[in-house]
């Protein structure tokens, strides 16, 4: 029991060690960054799968850093939701790091890329495992600072402009989060999340909690790119190198934004009906406005970035409903979106690698020359548009059923409408980029190298069989455990402090 808790700090430790070794030796040994990057993320993936098993056997685990007793020291917590997010983050991180082996050949100093990449993974894993408010802020900043540098990695005009815009908005968001933490600390005199939830439950509601909620919605909403705070995303995500776009859209906005938002609102402050309707309205706004903005885009990656805003809206809508079914739908969509959206960004990277353009109007008929890229992006497009039997269909279906079940017919209508518009916009992508006649310019285009194909095929396979997660036996272990944590709400305090 005590020994199994030692698995938790490894998630941060291994990725930091990987980053350290890469930065120390990567400049001299040319092959080393590829090896450390892939091995580190692979080890993390195995560990995160192991953590799902551990949670099912042992229940919630708490690791006290430096052996300080619970309300005083920093606690790292492993529960169902944490294990779920760890699998999502590390699965995508592993597949992206093997993709980068070939893709990042175009850039100089690959070791810098892998160092920053592993630092970002460390930050995200840290945000997910931590049970301490200020520690959450520190890990959030580690991941954010690494991501500013990665967006600017190309150091061309557009990358720099996007990175500056992203950095300024994200720093302002972080400051709002810090201010919220300061208010919470002054009100409760503790930083441990479980202890904080306990004290807040005793003190009851007050205006300070209202103000803190607003600050957190602004701060984490900015990180998650919900609609009034989304302006940085369509610039930052397309400008980064393709693996990083996949990482940012796939997992960064989810672990820094959605996960932290849900953890704090459900488990620490406690969800109320007004908070829940704020989340649902924000989710629906992002869902609809994101997809309308996406339809008019001709830049492949920019179109995908707008769809990220829209799909994040689905997740927030599902989780904001607050019913057990809605939460399962939201979390399942979170997992699915991180798989198919990273696949789509990797596809756009593969097209850019082969042809050097991102403009959909200049492409055409690439499916003939690049069969693997064409097929995988067809699978991902159908998945994001919600066509059965791909994984996106099941999660959207659950969210819509949950809306109807809760009597929220209006939200269900908008969810269906956004899904139809998503389908329309991806038909445009497939028609212009991959089907149709091959332009003469692209007669010499070759399929991308092996590791890129491998990583895209694996992601396509996961989106094809993603529906398996809904089979009762699997759902019980993985999705249900995660949703349970949110459904239980502020009971979280009792479970951590008591166990």
């Amino acid at each position: 029991m005590i020994m199994t808790a030692h698995i938790i700090p490894l998630f941060v430790g291994i990725s930091l060690a990987g980053a350290f070794i890469t930065s120390l030796l990567g400049k001299k040994l040319k092959m080393l960054p590829d090896v450390t990057g892939s091995l580190t993320t692979f080890a993390l993936l195995i560990l995160s799968l192991l953590s799902v098993w551990v949670v099912n056997v042992h229940g919630i685990l708490v690791y006290n850093v430096g052996a300080w007793k619970l309300p005083i020291g920093i606690a790292l917590v492993l529960d169902g939701l944490t294990a779920f997010m760890l699998v999502t983050v590390n699965l995508v991180a592993f597949l992206i790091s093997i993709y980068s082996i070939n893709y990042m050949e175009r850039f100089t100093s690959k070791w810098k890329f892998y160092t920053l990449f592993l630092l970002m993974v460390a930050g995200m894993n840290g945000v997910v495992v931590t049970g301490d408010m200020f520690n959450l802020f520190v890990f959030l900043e580690i991941a954010s600072v690494a991501s500013y540098a990665l967006v600017a990695f190309g150091t061309e005009r557009h990358e720099l402009e996007a990175a500056f815009k992203y950095a300024v908005m994200s720093i302002v968001g972080s400051l709002f989060i810090l201010l919220g933490i300061v208010f919470l600390y002054s009100y409760t005199s503790t930083l441990n999340m479980a202890d904080m939830a306990h004290i807040l439950a005793q003190k009851g509601t007050s205006n300070i909690i209202l103000m803190v909620s607003v600050l957190f919605i602004m701060g984490f909403g900015l990180k998650a790119a919900l609609v009034p705070f989304h302006a940085w995303l369509p610039d930052a995500h397309p400008s980064a190198p393709a693996p990083i776009s996949a990482m940012l859209s796939g997992v960064l906005i989810k672990s820094l934004g959605i996960y932290a938002l849900c953890r704090i609102f459900y488990n620490v402050i406690g969800i109320s009906s007004s908070l829940s309707s704020i989340l649902m309205v924000l989710g629906t706004l992002s869902m609809v406005i994101g997809v309308f903005l996406a339809i008019g885009q001709w830049d492949f990656k920019r179109l995908l970035a707008y769809h990220s805003i829209s799909q994040v809206g689905y997740v927030i809508l599902g989780i904001g409903l607050g019913t057990p079914l809605g939460i399962i739908g939201g979390l399942f969509h979170l997992f699915n979106h991180s798989v198919f959206k990273s696949l789509l960004f990797l596809n756009s990277g593969a097209v850019e690698y082969a042809t050097g353009t991102r403009d959909l109007q200049k492409m055409g008929g690439l499916s003939k020359k690049m069969p693997v890229t064409g097929t995988t992006s067809l699978i991902a497009s159908m998945s994001i548009a919600g066509i059965p039997p791909f994984n996106g269909f099941w999660s959207k279906l659950i969210i819509i059923i949950a809306c109807v079940e809760a009597g929220r017919y209006g939200y269900a209508f908008w969810a269906v409408l956004a899904s139809i518009l998503t389908l329309a916009s991806f038909m445009k992508v497939m028609k212009y980029a991959f089907f149709g006649t091959l332009k003469e310019k692209w007669a010499q285009v070759k399929e991308v190298p092996f590791f890129m194909k491998l990583s895209m095929s694996l992601l396509a396979l996961i989106s094809l069989i993603g529906g398996v997660l809904l089979v009762p036996a699997v759902k019980e272990v993985f999705l249900h455990k995660a949703a349970e944590v949110l459904v239980q709400g502020t009971q979280y305090a009792v479970m951590i402090l008591g166990g």
Binding site: V145, A152, A163, A167, Y185
Partner: protein, 112 residues
């Protein structure tokens, strides 16, 4: 009460600077001002009237002491602020190399 309000004013000055200024360097300075306002507020929250440093000594009886935890946290927060500022300044230098200006109204090639 007055000091808290002054903290808020300082925060708003920084926010105004970020939102309204056109020069990249001034925006960075605005962010630094906001960071310092939040840090200052954090330290003020921990202050107790007539408080003293929380150091245990055998001869003096401690009646009123300030909360030491936020001071440790603010140190961390200052270091994080240093890292973000360093990244921002590095990006600003590269932007000047590419565009030849610090004026954000002239640096807007990304649209739509």
């Amino acid at each position: 009460m007055m000091v808290y309000l002054l903290c808020l004013v300082l925060f708003c000055v920084g926010l105004y600077c970020v939102l309204m200024k056109r020069n990249i360097i001034k925006i960075i300075v605005g962010i630094i001002i906001m960071e310092f306002a939040v840090n200052l507020f954090f330290v003020l929250v921990a202050y107790r009237m007539e408080g003293r440093a929380p150091i245990l000594s055998p001869d003096a009886e401690i009646l009123n002491m300030v909360d030491p935890l936020p001071q440790a946290l603010v140190l961390t927060s200052i270091v994080i602020g240093l890292a973000t500022t360093a990244v921002l300044v590095a990006i600003a230098m590269r932007i000047y190399e590419k565009y030849g200006t610090f004026d954000i109204t002239k640096i807007k090639e990304l649209r739509g």
